[in-house]
Symmetry: none
Subunit: 129 residues, 2 copies
Amino acid sequence: MTANTPEKSRAQSLGQYLANVRTTKRMSLREVEEACAGVVSNAYLSQLEHDKISKPSPNILHALAEVYAVPYATLMAKAGYITETQKPKQKSGRHAQVPTFATDDLTTEEEEALLEYLAFLRSRKGGGK
Amino acid sequence: MTANTPEKSRAQSLGQYLANVRTTKRMSLREVEEACAGVVSNAYLSQLEHDKISKPSPNILHALAEVYAVPYATLMAKAGYITETQKPKQKSGRHAQVPTFATDDLTTEEEEALLEYLAFLRSRKGGGK
DNA sequence: ATCATCTGCTAAGTATATCAAGCAGTCAAG
DNA sequence: CTTGACTGCTTGATATACTTAGCAGATGAT
């Protein structure tokens, strides 16, 4: 009940998350398709990002997790395949080992902007939990 | 590895495993269907046990895991959805150091928010060089 | 202006997971 | 014997995951 407020958590849908990650990595739909070795087609990826697929195959999610370098469990969770037995706490955990931010991929400008935004976020929330 | 199979450590297919468990518990196909609250039909369970289904939905496997009281990860592994004891794979360089963004200090919410913001920044055409 | 090559996206088709219904066999009464 | 309630199993139909082919817009070079 500490972090059971869904209004604040704003958990992204699978599609939203996939789209954000791909945009961040600056990859096109067809680049991802190639990186997946044909496991995912660019057309299907587009449908995934628009939440047109309700139950994607774990194979697809696993391939995307590899290409995007995000934890497989995260995609599985967002797809609704709740793995409560082996899913990291998403409540008030202060540590997400998600290496989504490859800093060598960030420009100085972006890094500063993100830092500023993060500071803004945290100042809003106060001291966390 | 395979520390859960009490007697047989023979690598059996998903269907054989499911049939084995059900027989051990002395449940009929329709009993399992009822116990799953309609998530799995008896007809489908029969096909599953005969390995007629190549890629069953994780939802089905999860329901069966609950009814049979076997680990979900085991069924997922036998279904071919990777191996559950294989997750540490962020050792392969590429982006190991995250100086400014201590990602281990980011909550999931913050990470998503930053990703979204970064995606927004970069979607602003001409963000690169 | 016309190509050329990207981008994301969609429409139509194929493959397959999943279900409802029914079939054949077994066993225990009546 | 028949009837009924079980059993596992198959079949035909439907939903949907997924692909191939293509479209419209943007950008850039000739």
